[in-house]
Amino acid sequence: MSHRSPICCIVPEDILCRLAALSEHRDRALRTLILTERLRGRRVVLERMAAHATSTGQKRRTVYDAQHKTTLPGKLVRSEGATPSADVAVNEAYDFCGATYDFYMKAYSRNSIDDKGMRLDSSVHYDQDYDNAFWDGQQMVYGDGDGTIFDRFTKCLDVVGHELTHGVTAATANLDYQGQSGALNESVSDVFGSMVKQMSNNQTADQADWLIGEGLFLPSVNGVALRSMKAPGTAYDDPQLGKDPQPADMAHYVNTTSDQGGVHTNSGIPNHAFYLIAAELGGFSWERAGRIWYEALTKRLTSSSDFQAAADATFGAAGDLYGAGSTEQKAVQNGWGGVGIKVNQSAASTTKKKVVA
């Protein structure tokens, strides 16, 4: 594959895998299908590039209906400023995406995912009985749930905030999605997703529930949410699903090869550190604890950062923002200490990245 065009380089990693899976002399039909898909991908990318090129610095949302298929983005059903749809999932994706955009703008003057007004694309009704939401590297995607365990994934504001934040992380620290950097990536999405909900509810740290995906489980499940930042490991305990496996500290770190090395499990550790810091500082979490996390994410963390690096980076960021030895910096030190990570103060002073143009 030495002659890929620039556009094809964006599109076809999965297709390359499928091609690699084919033996030389069979399945011509499938091969044709793949090529057709590649052409369709090229057209989609061109359309998207055109949309991004007209960036105005305003909030711009588009919602697509995947119509229970897996081809993205699907049919355009609502764009910025259009009247609400009769479809509740479409309106939730639109409204919650708007609340997340507003959160980043209001709290950190960030203009969308890339800070350049990138259009926010979401697809709803992805696949059949699809019990998931994800960030595909370019857009947010939501399933309708399976009807027995999970409700539709657009239902929760923090889930939408979580997915959009994956875009922000990709545009900044770009944390590798495996092991500790992957768990950190997941945690950053939970942290900002929770704060989007807190701002929308006008809640201080002591008023917030610190739950992720509250209301996503259908009534048959014994659980309040998918994760708890305040008390990791306590969000659910159900005969079908088992018990929430999240650890709250390093002593209970889970070594596993599943889920990219437990990225959705060990995220409980930095999640809880953030909660402890926000609780110690009090007030609105996005004002100080969130500001420190945002500073670390955008200026100090790198793709390979682990939990120790995050502790050092947030400690350094707190020092920059509020001064060495400040209440805020002490809270950061205490919060990480509470999950079994000791801030390395000399490393903290050297983690600062050069500002990216």
């Binding site: 990693e13 499928r18 899976a21 998931n132 399976d146 997915e163 079908q240 599943s258 889920d259 959705h264």
Partner: protein
């Protein structure tokens, strides 16, 4: 025939997994499972299929099939799953959900 299945990851991070043994399945389900395995060309698939594309919260899968005569395991992420494997994945996912639901109905003990 034995089929082992695990789905991890996703936003929820809840692992779904189990084993299906044709000894314990009704004949029509065994026939259906056999058909889906054949149509997926399971035994010709590479052992590992991963994309390097960016993204987050997608599912990760491992599937192993042992027919007695043939044995093969594959691990892959959702995005790299070939189209002809998807019906088998859907069958395994649905069957696993049904098993869990049935377990819940059963009285504890």
């Amino acid at each position: 025939m034995r089929v082992r299945f695990e789905r991890s990851g996703g936003f929820a991070g809840i692992t779904l997994g189990g084993e299906f043994d044709s000894m314990n399945l009704p004949p029509e389900q065994t026939a259906e499972l056999n058909r889906l395995i054949e149509e997926s060309r399971f035994f010709e698939l590479p052992a590992v299929m991963r994309t390097t594309q960016t993204g987050a919260d997608r599912f990760q899968f491992t599937v192993s099939v042992d027919t007695g005569a043939q044995k093969h395991s594959i691990e892959f992420d959702e995005k790299s799953a070939p189209e002809n494997l998807r019906p088998l994945l859907k069958w395994l996912t649905d069957a696993q959900r049904k098993t869990l639901a049935a377990q819940k109905q059963r009285p504890a003990g």
